[in-house]
């Protein structure tokens, strides 16, 4: 009687196809992080919009605040560490998601090889610079 093996898929070194179209297996983490940051942003962005703008609407209407976004209001908010966490996470997630997204659009149009390396390095540098810039800006509110 034949024993049926259905669920064990062994890792056998069996001859697989070769050739110029062969995919090599790369880009998993970029793909996953795009989705992880997406979920993070779906949570953090509404929080950001609400605490920076919407909660101030009634204050502006009543005249307690001169505008929806004023230095003193932001500075006051950033005295609480929890808001710092929100802002730094938001900054890093948004930069990663946006720049990786742009990279993906280019890859859809066939970017690969050296061009891909150049673009990835360039966008990563841009992201790093923008991140530092963002932290400096946040810090300026509480100096």
């Amino acid at each position: 009687m034949a024993t049926q093996t259905t669920e064990t898929q062994g890792n056998a070194a069996l001859p697989l196809a070769e050739g110029p179209w062969q995919a090599v297996g790369s880009g998993f983490w970029a793909w996953l992080l795009q989705r992880v940051t997406a979920i993070g942003l779906v949570v953090l962005l509404p929080i950001h919009i609400v605490i920076n703008h919407l909660v101030n609407i009634s204050k502006v209407e009543s005249g307690a605040l001169p505008g929806l976004v004023v230095f003193s209001n932001v500075a006051e908010r950033l005295e609480t560490p929890a808001y710092w966490v929100v802002d730094v996470l938001l900054l890093s997630f948004a930069l990663y998601h946006g720049l990786n997204g742009a990279r993906n659009v280019l890859m859809d149009y066939g970017l690969r090889g050296t061009g891909e390396k150049v673009v990835t390095t360039g966008l990563s540098l841009l992201g790093a610079v923008a991140f530092v810039f963002g932290i400096v800006a946040l810090a300026s509110f509480i100096d």
């Binding site: 056998a12 996953l32 690969r112």
Partner: protein, 240 residues
């Protein structure tokens, strides 16, 4: 009824640029695009180039673009696409043209070959006394993806194939899933490692054009998303 077709003509031996030529031919009300092409070739222009064989949506030879939409010519009725006017016929997109409506299917087949479209079975692991057994539910699922007739409609319909020539495309990836999901295959891990690639799985953005136009209801989109799930589980070491 009068069937009016506007055909993209291209003769590679004549040094010319592609041109569109209009043909008007009297056809029965139920005529398909393929019927119209055959009548045109017989009555009006014997040099008209197009592929056909079975005329019953099983061989996949007559795949072409009808008013920009990738379909099987034998399965498309003229009255469904003419809307009282002219039907534009062009060869499948994203493939070189050999002549008129005949596309060079070479790159399409090469990409399917690239995903190892055969069972890779380790004889040391399995040596059944009789046949390999596959349970019914699994077999039904596999037959959905094995139903692919390799016509190229999905490949031609996919916008990503159109702009990224390295992308393996829906047919190749659906076939890859057919083998990853087959319990008789022993190379799933390697397959997934290769497929989890920028120009394989990660280029699919669930646009669904392939699933919408497939004449055999293969639904490559479902296959590709299942592959993504498998690739994720494997990477997180949760795949047995």
């Amino acid at each position: 009824m009068e069937a009016k077709i506007r055909v993209r003509r291209y003769d590679p031996t004549a040094d010319g640029k592609p041109e569109y030529e209009l043909f008007t031919v009297e056809m029965p009300h139920s005529a398909t695009v393929l019927d119209t092409l055959l009548a045109t070739r017989e009555q009006l222009d014997g040099s008209l180039g197009f592929r056909c064989a079975c005329r019953s949506a099983i061989c996949g030879s007559c795949a072409m673009r009808v008013n920009g939409e990738s379909r099987l010519a034998c399965k498309t009725k003229i009255i469904d696409v003419s809307h009282g006017g002219t039907v534009t016929l062009e060869p499948l997109a994203s493939l070189p043209t050999l002549k008129d409506l005949i596309a060079d299917m070479g790159p399409f087949y090469e990409k399917i070959r690239a995903i190892t479209p055969w069972l890779a079975t380790d004889p040391a692991k399995r040596a059944p006394a009789r046949e390999y057994l596959v349970e019914a539910a699994r077999s039904t699922k596999l037959s959905q993806f094995a139903a692919c007739i390799q016509c190229g409609v999905c490949y031609s319909a996919c916008p990503i194939v159109a702009i990224d020539d390295r992308y393996l495309g829906p047919a190749a990836l659906a076939k890859a899933y057919r083998f990853c999901h087959d319990p008789r295959d022993d190379a799933r891990s390697e397959r997934l490692s290769r497929l989890a690639d920028e120009h394989a799985l990660w280029r699919c953005h669930t646009i669904f054009s392939c699933a919408e136009w497939c004449p055999k209801n293969v639904n490559p989109t479902e296959a590709i998303q299942n592959l993504k799930k498998l690739a994720l589980l494997k990477r997180l070491r949760l795949l047995r």
